[in-house]
Symmetry: C2
Subunit: 123 residues, 2 copies
Amino acid sequence: MRKTNSTNHVNEKAITINCPITSTMLAIGGRWKIVILWQLKNGSLRYNEIRKAIPNISEKMLIQQLKELMQSKWVDKKDYNEIPPRTEYSLTQIGKSFMPILENIYNWGIANNITAPRQEDGS
Amino acid sequence: MRKTNSTNHVNEKAITINCPITSTMLAIGGRWKIVILWQLKNGSLRYNEIRKAIPNISEKMLIQQLKELMQSKWVDKKDYNEIPPRTEYSLTQIGKSFMPILENIYNWGIANNITAPRQEDGS
DNA sequence: TTTTATACTTACCAAATTGTATGTACTTCC
DNA sequence: GGAAGTACATACAATTTGGTAAGTATAAAA
């Protein structure tokens, strides 16, 4: 949980309060969020399907990021109440409506040959 | 400096290596990067002008983020070699070419009434 | 000679994010 | 009775990010 009185938190709030860009970035800003959204763009997937589609993600990270995406209304979950459990995750309308922008970024990235910056250390 | 052998780092690399979206997000992903880019969209600014335009940023954060933006070629710096010092920061072509996408996100955010998600704690 | 102006650097600390390992629940199959 | 399948939860540790406070350099102005 975050501390509401830390400078970090206060600054985050100040930055996002009036800016839809930074708010949006915050919503999709976790390590795995975009990867998850990208997986869901062609339809709903079960928990384990997402997991297998994203080899490096841990279970903790997957549910954590899914929860946050659900809180911010980008992703929906359907629980079938079966045993063994079955749940399906899908994009909400909000999530779907953002996909064209993600595709823009995708194409922009390719056109501009974007590679991630890395400040590496030897150790 | 980051550790090149941490799982965290390895995962970041895996995520960005083949994906222009996550690479792009990484490049503009610091706390203040988008705010800085947004300030520069109407032309070059001196160090102190940026600083005054972004009330909460500390000097350390400002130069750090500027350096990273320069490393990833979104921002350029011109040093006038005067005393007292004078430097000017401006968007590169890459930086400028991304502005339409930022504006898309801005409009999308307004249209969808995006507010930043907050998991707050009481302490 | 102290102050002012500008653009940084650095050491250190606090906070937030990410990852590891292990455990839970329920039912069917062997 | 034990293993398998599915979707989680939780305690703890490592890593990374962000913030604070103080210092540097140079020359001109007060």
